[in-house]
């Protein structure tokens, strides 16, 4: 089943989220259509992850509404594929790449993990489609960060989700893998017409893929195409301080952006892609 092209996948109306008297964002209106790629940018502490948590029903809005596929959000959903940050698994964790992908298909089902022939075939297809057939029986803990994220993309798309939520999936990957994994996500959303919400501190690896950008900073937000939002005037206004946005060789470099909120934010300087290295 392919969703109709203009079906609204995600809809936030007048959505406000505050912690105490500190608003993270206020009056956020956002409609996400099937197949649309939205990048969520901004310094740490501006509510990027809280936005994902809101969509996943783990965070209540202070006011306003959030709807997934025209209905209220639940506590997670099988219409959502989720790609988390790469994290290390303990060596010996009894989990192979194919098991991780399998969880994305029937991980919610009770019973023993005996898989049918059809199930195994589906897992093989997914692994093939993310170029990871040769890793199928490798233990996930033994894979490199880039390989793990590749499997993660497979896991997230395996259940044919309508919405793909990506929470810094490129973090701690080197440049080559950043490109490979983001290209894979882009390819899959076109193939499956899946809407993508991609939270990242560095827009550069996905700059030529995103349809729209949601920029969060200073308790404010801007939504628009990268060209509309990633401009010196816009960011200077949001940060309330002179900020310069330089476009150079297909990259966006933001100079002079202070921390949004959260003085404990130490990762911020590298935030807008002064190279994407760690």
């Amino acid at each position: 089943m392919t969703p109709s092209p203009d079906a609204s996948i995600l809809s936030l109306r007048q959505a406000t989220l505050s912690f105490g008297d500190r608003p993270l964002w206020r009056g956020l209106n956002l409609e996400l259509k099937a197949g649309e790629f939205l990048a969520v940018l901004g310094p740490n502490g501006t509510g990027k992850t809280s936005l994902l948590r809101t969509i996943l029903g783990q965070q209540q809005l202070t006011s306003g509404t959030v709807e997934l596929l025209g209905g209220p959000v639940g506590r997670g959903s099988r219409d959502i594929g989720y790609i988390p940050q790469q994290k290390l698994l303990d060596a010996g964790t009894p989990l192979r790449a194919r098991d991780l992908v399998g969880f994305g298909i029937n991980g919610h089902r009770w019973g023993l993990p005996v898989s049918s022939r059809a199930m195994r075939r589906r897992v093989d297809e997914v692994l093939e489609s993310v170029g990871a057939s040769d890793l199928a029986n490798a233990s996930v803990a033994s894979l490199s960060g880039g390989e793990q994220q590749r499997i993660r993309v497979g896991q997230a798309i395996a259940g044919n989700p309508r919405l793909l939520l990506c929470d810094e999936p490129l973090l701690s990957l080197d440049l080559q893998y950043q490109r490979a994994v983001s290209e894979l996500i882009d390819e899959k959303r076109r193939e499956l017409n899946t809407a993508v919400v991609f939270v990242t501190h560095d827009v550069n690896p996905i700059l030529n893929m995103v349809d729209r950008v949601l920029y969060l900073a200073g308790g404010q937000f801007r939504v628009g195409t990268p060209d509309e939002v990633l401009r010196s005037e816009v960011l200077s206004y949001m940060y309330d301080t002179p900020v310069e946005v330089i476009r150079s060789r297909g990259r966006v470099i933001v100079i002079g952006a202070p921390d949004g909120y959260g003085a404990h934010d130490h990762e911020n300087h590298h935030v807008h892609g002064d190279g994407g290295h760690h």
């Binding site: 506590r75 997670g76 192979r96 969880f103």
Partner: protein, 301 residues
């Protein structure tokens, strides 16, 4: 020295003894299955220390039951479940959980010692709760232990897949709509029951040898989701049954035998795992020779 080894390993009239403890051996084997299976999840959920905490409160419950003359297994289960639920509800994060366990553990042990000190009966019963007493468990209680063990095994089988998902990949499981918190509490209840049963047999102090060591050993030698529980069960059953068979001859507590076998299996698995790693046979990666050296990511298809 001869005296000592005679006490440790005495196989006179062994055949008659074996008949007497036959039921205990069956129960031990069943408990091995429980320990091996649940241990896999204890390892994945990082609950090793929590197992110890639960067992001390279970010990308190059992000794209270002994003192007040009610069913010891029931007392043990009550203590176990209270501890398991407290740890499950309050200790969602590993660090909080460790503090809660560390607070509960001496409290439970202290209570247990108090109840035992007040208990006027035979001291063998008292010691048994700490170090194991399967041979002295009567048939009625044995029936109860078997029933609970079966409940735990069935419970694990029913929730195996979502429990694995939630254990190794909680964030994604939550995003996909799994009731991760409820699964966690359900698991803690099963764990509480498993600990309560184990205490009757290997004793509060040595529960880890049954609920953690076999699974930890299995995970040193395989990362297969099928082999891991199978090996863990095998190791736990061998430890339990082997321990009972060795212990009955000398009429000694079974736990030192169980824990020693369990420990030796673990050491062996570490050595094997270390050799696997050196020879690179771990991980079952099937990379074609042409690509073995480079990164396995294809940049464009």
């Amino acid at each position: 020295m001869d005296d000592l080894s005679g006490t440790l390993f005495n196989f006179e009239n062994y055949g008659e003894l074996l008949v007497l403890v036959r039921n205990s051996i069956y129960a031990g084997a069943l408990l091995g299955i429980v320990g091996g299976l649940i241990g896999v999840f204890v390892m994945q959920r990082d609950l090793q220390f929590a197992v110890h905490g639960i067992s001390e409160l279970s010990f308190a419950g059992a000794s209270a039951a002994l003192l007040f003359g009610v069913n010891v297994v029931a007392g043990s289960i009550l203590g176990s479940l209270i501890a398991a639920l407290l740890i499950g509800v309050l200790g969602v994060r590993a660090r909080e959980r460790n503090s809660i366990v560390a607070v509960l553990m001496p409290f439970g042990l202290g209570l247990g010692i108090l109840f035992l000190a007040l208990y006027p009966g035979r001291s063998a019963n008292q010691f048994g709760l700490l170090t194991g007493q399967i041979v002295s468990v009567d048939n009625e209680q044995l029936g109860l232990l078997v029933t609970i063990s079966i409940v735990v095994i069935i419970g694990l089988f029913v929730m195996w897949r979502p429990l694995s998902f939630a254990s190794v990949d909680a964030d994604v499981a939550r995003a996909r709509g799994l009731p991760v918190a409820a699964i966690s509490i359900a698991f803690m209840v099963l764990l509480g029951l498993a600990v309560a049963v184990s205490i009757q047999i290997v004793g509060a102090l040595l529960v880890l040898a049954l609920l953690v060591t076999p699974a930890a050993a299995a995970m040193r030698v395989t990362a297969s989701p099928f082999l891991t529980p199978l090996l863990a069960v095998l190791f736990a059953v061998v430890s339990m049954v082997g321990g009972i068979l060795l212990a009955i001859g000398g009429g000694l507590p079974i736990s030192p035998f169980v824990t020693t076998i369990s420990f030796l299996i673990y050491v062996l698995c570490r050595v094997i795992g270390w050799q696997q790693q050196r020879s690179g046979s771990r991980g079952e990666r099937t990379v074609s020779p042409g690509r073995a050296a480079g990164p396995t990511v294809r940049l464009s298809e």
